[in-house]
């Protein structure tokens, strides 16, 4: 008993069947038994003095998103049987529901805090008393890192349990970046404010998140963006992917002391983000994505400039990555380090690159296309070894693929005669609907969903960054590795703190 919609679909809230919890648990469990399905998001919202739970399960083969729902009292007295016992991928979502509303999940492996939100159910839970897993032993020692790290990066705390140089266990405690994004989406009632908010969720995924927001607003308004805009959005999305992947290639080179690889890639990344700046005036694409239109259409002259730069970048990136991935001293550091198996990836519900490097074909561009991806026969690149090398090398392959795609689209844009539309900020959203919008950022699957009331106002907004699934992949990858390999393992995933903490 559940409803199915497609990506960027909406459904009247009244049409979503509210199941009894045992029936809900059976349906979720049954769906997740299929390897084609994974949980996109599972969360609870206060609704008519009760708590309504929504679970979105994406089926990559039928391209459907299944929506399941159940309700309970909104009280910390409520006890539910944990679904994470059988389907571990749900652990993080049950933790979040527990943290927000105090709901107990019987049999959950560890109901620890996720991000210490300002409106959490139990204010006695503070970052200082995070319940770390411990092993009592005189032979082991703990290493604590953070929240402030050595580099110029976001804050988070990592606690290692080590046997000599070997990591037995890593626990990642986040929450320092919590800004109350989801509440602000409701509080800020102008479309422009919400655009800015979506752009500010994660500065490295500006396009990914702002496009998820724009897609959601467009479908809740009952109309779609025109074809020209859809294609321009794919260009923006792929430029973001190219820039970050090249930056990560640079960072991975840094961490194994291959300075030549570092500096060449740094310079190439500059060329790519400066192309975005040439297009819209911001190196990260802030201000580019708006509902129904854009202030920065691509004309033939701009397209030619972009094509010339990207051609140069493509050639030089190929040159340097050929060198990097043929150097014994680099391969020795990357190969068989920080491995994730396909089985582990499936179990934790990994998405994006973390999944695709284990042979798991999970890519929203392919399975639940959005924007212009509908018109592109896109086939994800897969690797199978699941180690740092695979995650590094997948970036190289994806950069080549994205450059190829962007080239084709820019050539197509030059010929297109659909006029460019201006953004629309005065949106009339359809009343009493639930909308879901998925995009594939460079990190993986991003999900924005919202509920409107009878007046068409947003009364609930939920954001999910791919990092929510994938932080567990990092924790598993460093097990039994040298602690000195942590930096390259971490960099190979390059997960978001602010996207996780919201």
């Amino acid at each position: 008993m559940y409803k199915k919609i497609k990506n960027n679909g909406i459904i009247p809230i009244a049409e979503i069947p509210v199941l009894e919890y045992p029936a809900f648990a059976d349906e979720v469990s049954h769906l997740l038994d299929s390897s084609a399905c994974h949980c996109v998001n599972y969360y609870a919202v206060p609704f008519n003095n009760r708590l309504q739970y929504f679970c979105f399960i994406a089926n990559d083969e039928t391209n459907d998103i299944c929506i399941l729902s159940h309700q309970t009292e909104n009280s910390p007295e409520v006890k539910l049987e944990s679904l994470a016992k059988k389907h571990f991928a749900l652990h993080i979502f049950e933790r979040e529901i527990h943290e927000n509303f105090g709901i107990q999940f019987d049999g959950h492996p560890w109901l620890k805090p996720v991000r210490y939100p300002f409106n959490r159910a139990d204010k006695n839970q503070v970052p200082d008393n995070y319940p770390f897993y411990r092993i009592e032993s005189e032979e082991l020692h703990e290493v604590g890192v953070g929240p402030i790290h050595a580099g110029v990066i976001e804050p988070g705390h990592f606690r290692f349990i080590c046997d000599g140089e070997k990591v037995l266990h890593l626990e990642i405690h986040l929450g320092y970046q919590h800004r109350g994004v989801e509440q602000l989406f409701i509080k800020k009632n102008s479309t422009l404010q919400r655009c800015i908010l979506a752009e500010s969720i994660a500065g490295d995924s500006v396009i990914g998140h702002s496009m998820a927001y724009a897609g959601l607003m467009e479908s809740l308004s009952g109309k779609q963006a025109n074809d020209r805009l859809s294609i321009e959005r794919v260009v923006a999305m792929e430029l973001e992917r190219i820039a970050i992947h090249i930056g990560d290639t640079s960072a991975l080179s840094t961490d194994v002391a291959y300075q030549f690889g570092q500096v060449v890639n740094e310079a190439l990344r500059t060329l790519v983000i400066n192309t975005t700046q040439l297009w819209c005036g911001n190196r990260f694409g802030k201000g580019l994505i708006r509902p129904f239109g854009t202030h920065y259409p691509i004309d033939a002259m701009l397209a030619d400039k972009m094509l010339a730069t990207l051609k140069d970048v493509g050639e030089r990136y190929l040159q340097i990555t050929d060198r990097i991935y043929n150097l014994t001293s680099v391969l020795d550091r990357f190969e068989t380090v920080g491995e994730i198996t396909r089985k582990q990836a499936e179990k934790i519900g990994a998405v994006g690159m973390a999944a695709r490097t284990t042979g798991l074909k999970r890519d929203i561009r392919h399975s639940h296309p959005f924007a212009g991806y509908h018109h592109i026969a896109y086939e994800p690149v897969l690797l199978t070894t699941g180690d740092v090398l695979a995650r590094g090398f997948l970036r190289k392959l994806e950069v080549e693929q994205s450059l190829d795609l962007v080239n084709k689209l820019l050539e197509r844009i030059k010929l297109i005669d659909i006029p460019s539309e201006k953004p629309i900020f005065d949106l009339k959203l359809q009343p009493s609907q639930l909308g879901i919008s998925l995009t594939e950022g460079w990190r993986g699957e991003i999900c924005h969903s919202a509920v409107t009331n009878e007046q068409g106002e947003i009364i609930h907004y939920k954001v999910k960054d791919p990092s929510m699934h994938n932080w567990m992949a990092l924790a598993l990858a460093v097990r039994n590795q040298e602690i000195s390999d942590f930096p390259i393992c971490n960099k190979s995933f390059n997960l978001s703190y602010c996207g996780h903490d919201l």
Binding site: P117, F118, N119, P127, D128, P147, I148, A150, G151, V152, I153, E154, P155, G175, Y176, Q177, H178, R179, G180, Q183, L184, K187, K188, S190, L192, Q193, C195, I196, L197, S200, I201, G203, D204, G247, F260, V263, E266, A267, T270, Q277, L278, W279, C280, G281, N282, R283, F284, K286, G287, H295, R316, Q319, I320, D322, R323, K422, S496, Y497, C498, D501
Partner: protein, 253 residues
């Protein structure tokens, strides 16, 4: 093998920007805004209504760079009256200079009288900074990393980011400062030896930006300690940061 590297090296060529004070950024880059003196109070009021972060004032018409997220929507509303130039030198030590008034198209500069005397003698030759991201969205953090890359190469002036606050001459804060990060920031500040600089980078750090009224923030820290430099931007461009820091520590160049 080595030949491959030489080939790449040759094609790579010179990457560093020889003079960071004279770079011409892309025409669309959103830097220092200019408001026409002919803007009416009514127009300014309409722009104020639209502004997502309350950066626009009406009497006289003005834009506060500490609050502005550089979305440029006010320009699209009144293209003749408000424009964003590609002038990236918008860092200042005087919060009043962050407010750009109608008709005032002069560049944003530092107020030499407000620069503490010890800054030039202590930090004029080399400067080690500790960066703290306090709920920053990672855009400003990436731009600060870019300051040290082969293009901007801020290391040539002996300016770099260090791993420990105990090795640092000052703190660079990004992000609107979340409640959950407030304590770590305070500890970090006190771990940095005196005399020290305090630099705010990005609109989120200066005013809270789009997050300004979020209950998840705790910005008390900023009321307690003197701030030496404001570097506006969303995110702040590496050239804004580098030029601001150079002017602060070495005077007008």
């Amino acid at each position: 093998m080595l030949f491959d590297e030489i080939k790449i090296f040759m094609r790579h060529g010179q990457q560093f920007i020889p003079d960071v004070t004279k770079v011409e950024l892309a025409p669309l880059f959103r830097g220092r805004p200019e408001i026409s003196a002919s803007i009416t109070a009514e127009e300014a009021g309409v722009a104020q209504q639209l502004c997502p972060t309350g950066a626009i004032g009406t009497s006289p018409a003005s834009i506060n760079l500490g609050k502005c997220v550089f979305c440029k929507e006010c320009h699209f509303l009144f293209p003749e009256k408000i424009r964003f130039t590609n002038d990236y030198k918008i860092a200042t030590n005087n919060p009043d200079r962050l407010i750009i008034k109608a008709g005032d198209n002069s560049p944003v500069t530092l107020d030499a009288d407000l620069v503490r005397k010890e800054i030039k003698s202590f930090f004029g030759h080399a400067l080690k900074l500790r960066q703290v991201s306090a709920a920053g969205d990672n855009a400003c953090e990436m731009e600060l990393n870019a300051c040290g890359n082969v293009n901007f190469d801020m290391g040539r002036w002996g300016i770099e980011f260090v791993a420990s606050p105990r090795h640092a001459d000052g703190l660079v804060i990004t992000g609107p400062i979340s409640e959950n990060m407030a304590q770590a920031l305070e500890i970090c500040y006190h771990s940095t030896p005196n005399p020290k600089l305090l630099i705010l980078v990005g609109t989120d750090a200066i005013s809270g930006g789009i997050f300004a009224d979020s209950p998840a923030l705790n910005r008390d820290f900023l009321n307690k300690y003197p701030i030496d430099l404001y570097v506006p931007g969303n995110p702040a461009h590496p050239l804004t940061f580098i030029n601001g820091v150079l002017e602060l520590t070495r005077g007008k160049r």
